[in-house]
């Protein structure tokens, strides 16, 4: 096929291959156009959303809809919609940047995100020609607002356990839907809902349901912990009459739509978390410079600086991960040519399902860490609603829950790997076998002459640790591994940290090779990689101890020790340097 295809990195391949930095997309690779799109989003948010934050937080839906229209005029709703349906059809990096910058306006970003993401994308990817023509141009401008209705009171993570039923009417002209959908974002004002229901209680399928169809209503507004500027209600379907042509995709294939849309939802969520982290860091640093105790700004104190450095590093690592995945998705889509149908596009994105889950878990937990430390830096004021830290703290929490809880996503990671291995898409088992041989001999040493040699060595060892403990677990439990959720979650955490380390290292090396100033990046990698490496060792030890005991365990631990030797760095000093740069700039520093 084309040369483009040869350059593609396969999903999850990073676990068994060395990924060359030049193959990794990084924020330093943003084009001028990307930057301008980010800037327009920033201006829109600062000019239109932020000044209205208070009204939005008090659920002025009319204003929310007005702002969505304005966003539509600027093209901020049209990024993922193809040009033939009045969209812009820009790349996923552009659309990710819009998502990232939108979060600076608080939870209005959720109204925007639900509309352009899970609301609109099922029609983009799975709608037929008539459905796309009818709905997409209106969704591109914001004339109509979209929502997505999958969850039910009785089915959250177990999405396929939905109880909503669709039955064909006697005249064969309508699907009659009955059931209740729960926690539906944008439900107060959405015009179009993508609704999942089981045809005859069996075939899980998706439908496009308009608000004005008979039998469609919404419940009362939920009183949420955070993201209050977004609307969340039940969608109630009582003999709702949905024209037969509004079945989305094939009957009984709703799960294909649901899972594909979740993949996209996940990487978009991760990108949103990056924006949230940068926003929180900015207010935290500014506050730390203003707030004086013991006759000096608290930013002068090393323990505050340590927090600032940690927050900046988390944001950097997450940003490196999510734009790497987004870049991979773009390359995959690019390789398929200009006019690909939606299903092919969704399939291309599915290639990186593992990366989407990895990003989702990491980003949501990184954001929670960052907002928690933001509250801490604000001290007592962090607990008071007049200051921004309090809202950020509450708003962040939902990210670990929706788009698949982090627990579900952790389980998805090893499951996806095993599936890829079984289908022969990933030579995981071969790699694990190869490792057995390698472990008998002498392991490679750190190459001090290389750029970031020590960190690259730790990354290589981390991959071996994963193969070692993962391989042992598969051997021991075989088919029953599924029941060992604790071990699976530990394996997922190792995968996540490997992707995190590698993304940060690759981004830094790429910047250095391009002759860019990468001093701060190098410092961050030198801090982060050993910290992650120690965590990986911990997860591995926990897995081994759960599987073996006595001599067998001691032997396994001896192997692990062989893989985990490293020389610690003076991270105290490095963090002070990183913090100094962030404090000077008063914002996130890559």
């Amino acid at each position: 096929m084309s040369t483009k295809e040869q350059e593609l990195t396969k999903g999850a391949a990073f676990l068994i291959e060395d990924i060359a930095p030049e193959k990794v997309f990084t924020p330093e690779d943003f084009s001028k156009e990307h930057q301008m799109i980010a800037e327009t989003t920033r201006q829109f948010v600062e000019g239109e959303v932020v000044p209205n934050a208070e009204r939005l937080e008090h659920q002025d839906w009319e204003l929310t809809v007005q702002l969505l229209h304005k966003a539509g005029e600027l093209g901020l709703l049209a990024a993922d919609i193809p040009e033939e349906y009045d969209g812009l059809g820009v790349d996923k990096v552009s659309s990710a940047l819009i998502t990232e910058y939108m979060t600076r306006g608080g939870s209005f970003a959720l109204s925007h995100g639900a509309h352009v993401g899970i609301g609109t994308l099922p029609i983009v990817y799975f709608g037929n020609e008539e459905q796309r023509k009818k709905y997409l141009p209106k969704l591109a401008t914001g004339e109509w607002i979209a929502a997505y209705a999958l969850t039910e009171p009785g089915s959250g993570s177990d999405a396929l356990g939905a109880k909503t039923v669709a039955k064909l009417s006697e005249d064969g002209k309508y699907w009659i839907l009955n059931g209740t959908k729960q926690f539906i974002t944008n439900s107060a004002f959405a015009d179009v809902f993508v609704v999942y229901a089981k045809i005859d209680g069996e075939k899980f399928s998706a439908f496009i349901v308009e608000r004005t169809f008979p039998g469609v209503s919404t419940g009362v507004e939920e009183k949420k912990m955070g993201i209050k500027a977004s609307s969340t209600r039940q969608l109630i379907l009582e003999d709702a009459k949905v024209p037969v042509e509004n079945l989305l995709g094939e009957p009984g294939k709703g799960h294909v739509i649901a899972f594909n849309i979740l993949n996209i939802g996940r990487y978009k969520l991760a990108v949103g978390c990056v924006g949230g982290m940068k926003g929180a860091l900015e207010v935290a640093v500014k506050y730390a410079k203003e707030r004086k105790q013991f006759k000096q700004p608290i930013a002068n104190f090393p323990l505050i600086q340590q927090k600032i450095a940690n927050m900046n590093i988390k944001a950097f690592v997450t940003e490196s991960m999510v734009y790497r995945s987004t870049g991979d998705i773009d390359k995959q889509l690019d390789s398929l040519g200009d006019h690909i149908d939606g299903r092919t596009a969704a399939k291309a994105i599915e290639e990186y399902a593992l990366e989407c889950s990895v990003g989702k878990v990491y980003a949501s937990e990184a954001l929670d860490y960052v907002v928690d430390e933001t509250v801490q830096i604000f001290g007592g004021a962090g607990f008071i609603q007049d200051y921004p830290a309090e809202r950020m703290y509450r708003d962040a929490r939902i990210n670990r829950i929706f788009e698949g809880t982090n627990e579900i996503n952790r389980l998805i990671i090893p499951a996806t790997l095993l599936r890829k291995a079984m289908k022969g898409e990933l030579a995981l088992l071969q790699a694990a076998q190869g490792l057995q041989q390698e472990l008998l001999g002498a392991l490679p040493m750190v190459d001090e002459s290389e750029l970031l040699g020590a960190e690259k060595h730790m990354l290589a060892m981390a991959k071996k640790i994963f193969l070692f403990v993962g391989g042992s677990a598969v051997q021991k439990y075989m088919q029953k591994l599924e029941e060992e959720q604790e071990i699976l979650a530990n394996l997922a955490d190792i995968v996540i940290e490997i992707y995190a380390m590698e993304s940060a290292i690759a981004r830094t090396l790429k910047a250095m090779e391009a002759g860019k100033d990468a001093e701060n990046k190098v410092d961050m990698v030198k801090v982060y990689v050993p910290e992650a490496f120690v965590r990986i060792e911990g997860y591995a030890r926990e897995i081994l101890a759960a599987m073996e005991e006595g001599d067998a365990l001691r032997t396994q631990l001896a192997v692990l020790r062989k893989l985990t030797r490293f020389q610690p760095v003076n991270s105290k000093e490095l963090k002070r340097r990183i913090a100094a740069r962030v404090i000077e700039a008063e914002k996130y520093q890559a």
């Binding site: 001028k32 301008m36 799109i37 800037e39 005029e73 600027l74 901020l76 812009l88 552009s94 100033d517």
Partner: protein
């Protein structure tokens, strides 16, 4: 109607100024279209949309200034000219000479520029350009109406409003309040990449270095002294006055 807009790329107004080795540090700084020039771009686009014609944006500045031109194109301008030849850089005198040379190669009815740049704030370049071209100018506009060849311009005259009538060709400068500049839309951004952007050099403009040699020299660049704490005088009123007068004379030397 052919409208030319002169703009300058400046520091974002929220950037902090750092001086290193006697020069303002530009690393990692965010640059924007000078806010007053943004009004000029917006006004030109609105006039073009009403009356037809073409908007050309022009800047003298380093390569990075291309971003400012692209932003103007994304807002809706039709064409851009970038004078990024370092031989063309100098002071306000130089900039006006260079712009005049560019403008003379083109047809125009109206030139719009910002009232001043937020970086050095000289407010000279546009009016010097009018002088070079031998056309009238009206500065600090808050409202502009064009009817055929006739122009009615409302200008901010130190807080008062003056209404001035003039005829084309004309140069005007924009004051805050003239309009609310739009954000470049995504479709505008995509189109901007395909719009023509021409770079010009000293030779292209038929200028020689002597023609445009700067008439001023920057001898020192420094930040304002940090603000020191104020002093509250106390005691008998007459004593306070005495103390104040003496402080004004000796401490700050504001009165001789």
């Amino acid at each position: 109607m052919n409208i030319l807009v002169c703009l300058k790329q400046t520091f974002d107004t929220e950037e902090r100024i750092v001086i290193e080795n006697g020069k303002i540090k530009e690393d990692g700084v965010k640059f924007v279209i000078n806010p007053y020039d943004e009004y000029a771009v917006e006004e030109a686009i609105r006039l073009r949309d009403d009356l037809g014609g073409q908007v050309t944006v022009i800047t003298v500045g380093p390569e990075r200034a291309e971003e400012a031109l692209r932003t103007a194109l994304a807002m809706g301008a039709d064409e851009a000219i970038l004078a990024d030849d370092p031989a063309l850089f100098g002071d306000e005198y130089t900039a006006a000479k260079v712009l005049a040379a560019i403008v003379k190669q083109r047809e125009f009815d109206l030139i719009i520029a910002g009232n001043q740049a937020v970086d050095d704030g000289s407010g000279q370049v546009a009016v010097r350009l009018a002088e070079e071209l031998g056309i009238p100018h009206v500065s600090t506009l808050t409202k502009l109406e064009v009817n055929g060849n006739q122009v009615v311009a409302h200008r901010d005259a130190e807080g008062d409003e003056e209404i001035v009538e003039a005829s084309l060709p004309l140069l005007v400068t924009a004051q805050q309040g003239l309009n609310e500049p739009r954000y470049p839309s995504l479709i505008g951004i995509r189109k901007a990449n395909k719009k023509p952007l021409t770079k010009v050099t000293l030779a292209d403009l038929g200028l020689s270095l002597e023609d445009i040699e700067a008439r001023t020299e920057i001898t020192e660049t420094f930040l304002p002294a940090p603000k020191t704490a104020g002093q509250i005088l106390s005691g008998d009123l007459a004593d306070q006055v005495k103390e104040l007068v003496s402080a004004l004379k000796t401490k700050d030397k504001v009165v001789g």
